[in-house]
Symmetry: C2
Subunit: 492 residues, 2 copies
């Protein structure tokens, strides 16, 4: 096999990079911190996007598109939001290049083409969108306004990692406006549920639904809800967030509506987003030392058929059978490829599709031709079975669902085994270092203690789970009284 993958045990971080690059999901680019999403990775994103898009539309949302640029004066309007993102903004200051008089064939920024007002490349679109909503909302009849946008955003991060943290990334951002606080809060929770459903049912990744502590909140939000997933190295990953924005943006952009009694009030808002970061979570949660393991429901390719033959003997018959099966699988809605490339040997192909995480591999040789059989290999368990061609299409359809379920169960067991309770500081530190995963512990509720814990251990409060049971206790660090446990973890 030509493409060596670092093992998880020897270097987890390098293993991840190997999978992303050698598994053909993405590539580094010439632009610092920006990646190229390769066709295979983009096909995966398209499948994820299509499911999410359908779920958004089913819950009454429409797509729209707002400008890439935010004039600085608008960006400033909601102060906390501006403060939160100011340090990572790419800024357009000029609108023209010109020939460099000193170097033939080179260009320089034309100093005469300086913009009167600088433009921020959107790190998130609340500002430009709420400035637009001001013109769209006058009365309660214009509400709710339920809009989503699929777009690229830019956050100038100092340390970047493919998919997990890139300067530019693709995402969707929902921005809704409501007549009442209650309705906006319901929307916030509804979208959290949509995200949780998507990640669990399509990405086969169990998540904890919770609310963020104040210091982990989205800049400008009243409350940030999140779904948190667990990676195989025991670190948590925030997989999606849904924000209740209160009237903060409506006040910053002066968006008022007249209610049924003709009374003017500020509009209530939410925003929510998931990004290509989810692909990083998918890779880290399910893959193994042989390569990617992709859940069937979103895998670009669900089944690959590989013919095994020597010379030309009966090759026609083998091809015909494979093509017939592929065609019947397609009809049944399965994403299938018959790899009849003569330039690569079966062994190379086996390794390649294993690396790419294709859920099912079917190999067919001359003996199979005689016996009316094929060899079926599952990517998740790496089990091989000899199967009859009779009823094979139905069997494959069923098996794909089984793999989906099995991947979820495996991740769920791993996740549940990695939620520990700590009641003393030494337990807390030991569990974090040795067992890793989520640690459920009491916290006195202050940002100061949260920060101190983070400095000592690098662990942050991932969330206060929505299904938390109130419990009296003493803060793990300060011993001060606490009314509930929260979930800590080291995180991506």
């Amino acid at each position: 096999m030509s493409k060596e993958i670092t093992s998880r045990a020897s270097d987890y971080s390098q293993w991840y990079n190997d999978l992303v690059i050698k598994g053909s999901l993405a590539d580094y680019s010439a632009v610092r911190g920006c990646m190229v999403i390769k066709p295979y990775g983009y096909a995966l994103w398209e499948n994820m996007r299509d499911v999410l898009d359908r779920m958004f539309k089913e819950t009454g949302h429409q797509n729209a598109y707002f400008p890439l640029f935010v004039p600085k004066s608008l960006f400033e309007a909601e102060e906390k939001n501006a403060e939160g993102f100011a340090k990572e903004c790419a800024v357009v200051t000029h609108y023209r290049l010109k020939s460099d008089p000193d170097h033939k064939g080179k260009l320089i920024v034309d100093p005469e083409a300086r913009l009167e007002e600088e433009l921020v490349v959107r790190p998130t679109s609340e500002a430009i969108i709420w400035n637009t909503y001001k013109g769209w909302i006058q009365s309660y009849r214009d509400l709710p306004l339920l809009i989503n946008q699929w777009a690229n955003v830019v956050r100038w991060e100092m340390r970047t990692r493919l998919f997990l943290r890139t300067a530019e990334f693709l995402w969707q951002e929902g921005h809704t406006a409501h007549a009442t606080s209650q309705e906006a809060q319901q929307e916030t929770l509804q979208m959290l549920k949509v995200y949780a459903t998507f990640v669990e049912e399509y990405m086969a990744l169990p998540v904890i639904r919770g609310v963020k502590s104040e210091s982990e909140r989205f800049a400008g939000a009243v409350d940030t809800y999140c779904i948190e997933a667990l990676m195989q190295d025991g670190k948590a990953l925030q997989a999606g967030t849904s924000h209740f924005l209160g009237q903060n943006f409506a006040k910053a952009f002066d968006v008022k509506f007249s209610d049924r009694d003709n009374k003017l009030d500020y509009v209530w808002a939410t925003s929510w987003g998931v990004s290509t970061r989810l692909i990083g979570a998918l890779v880290m949660a399910h893959s193994d030392d042989e390569g990617l393991v992709l859940p069937p429901r979103i895998a670009p390719l669900q089944v690959v058929i590989i013919p095994i033959y020597k010379g030309a003997e009966k090759k026609d018959l083998l091809d015909a059978r494979a093509r017939d099966l592929a065609s019947r699988l397609k009809t049944a809605g399965v994403r299938v490829k018959f790899d009849d490339n003569d330039n690569a040997r079966p062994g190379w192909k086996f390794a390649e599709y294993e690396l790419k995480g294709v859920p099912l591999r079917l190999a067919m040789g001359l003996r199979d031709l005689e016996n009316n059989t094929a060899e079926l290999a599952r990517r998740d368990t790496r089990e091989k079975t000899n199967v009859s061609m009779e009823g094979l299409v139905e069997r494959i359809v069923q098996l794909l669902e089984e793999i989906q379920q099995n991947m979820f169960n495996k991740a769920l067991i791993f996740r549940d085994e990695h939620i520990s309770r700590a009641d003393t500081w030494s337990d807390f530190e030991r569990l974090l270092d040795e067992k890793t995963g989520f640690i459920s512990a009491h916290w006195d509720g202050t940002a100061q203690t949260e920060e101190a814990i983070k400095e000592k251990t690098k662990a942050t409060i991932r969330c206060i789970p929505l299904d938390n049971v109130p419990e009296q206790g003493a803060c793990i660090l300060t011993g001060k009284p606490s009314s509930q446990r929260v979930l800590f973890a080291r995180a991506y």
Copy 2:
């Protein structure tokens, strides 16, 4: 009717803006030259995108995503391309904002966060993509490389118009790499054909396929092929381009491959794109003084059902029948809406859906309930018919196709009536001013003459039609010998 539309006769340009804004396709934004694409306009774009995306995939292309930013040094590499776009580049120079020490709550660009190398916001992606392809292509086995990208691009235009010319726009850009010149040229023509098919069959807009003169070529191309459409005011609009790039970008980015005989050669390239500009063409070509007229195949909404009732009498029965019809239409694949909004009167709704260009309107009142009928109104011809509910679903499905065809035929007749031949300069000028449309005339083949004609008349060479018949003649301006006619027009 609350939304007044300027008529075409009184102010064509204002009529267009009225349709775009009042028809809910797009809105102006706070960013100079950038627009907001509203949900209705975006739904139209999604339909167009989905069809094109399917056609690209059927011709073997895959989607990928490349960075928004192009480092200046890469941007410069292909000189003609750089020179062509330098004047309209938005440039990122800094990566951070900070608090303004002199104005509380305001931000300034942090002078210490200047980028070592400026980043150009992509006006087109040849540079960043060919720099990436260098790492992907080594051998003839890596070819052809057939990739498409859906993305936003920025061209800092001085005069902007909604959809037709905006600083930021959405588009797709295909970038392919081939082992031979011939194969690349075939790809260029294949994609031109895909565009022509899409615009004619889905947008109901006939196009002329042709090749650009040298001065109208894409910067960096060897040949630019185009499809040209005609608007109702007799001006042409370039609806899509497909470029044969030769080895220009391969040489600029040093992309070589070893062929079957292990000989190294530069790769051959194409690029091709269409953008949200197509929506502008759609609006201008088909609409009338009452509003938009959208072709059924891409209309966000194909049928609207409007109930007509007084008080609550038999409203339940009416609603039940409308819902049943809507549900049967949906099952038949029709995009239908039953507008049961009580806050708006039928007359207002009629005008609103007419403005939005919904191809078919069904009105159902109490008498229809008795007679088992409905009133069917076509948007394209504005004909109204009383129809029986019997077999109505089939009739509607058929009628939608009829409308699609009728819109194309109408546009084709208009276009063909507006192709004139001119053999003298005075005819040329008179036809341009009085008849408008395309003028087929002899041209001596020089850029100088082309420029002189443009200065005198504002008409440009739209293309040399692919099906041109060679013909000896004298240049319309200089009288010098010419071997073929070319198509002139004033254009968007």
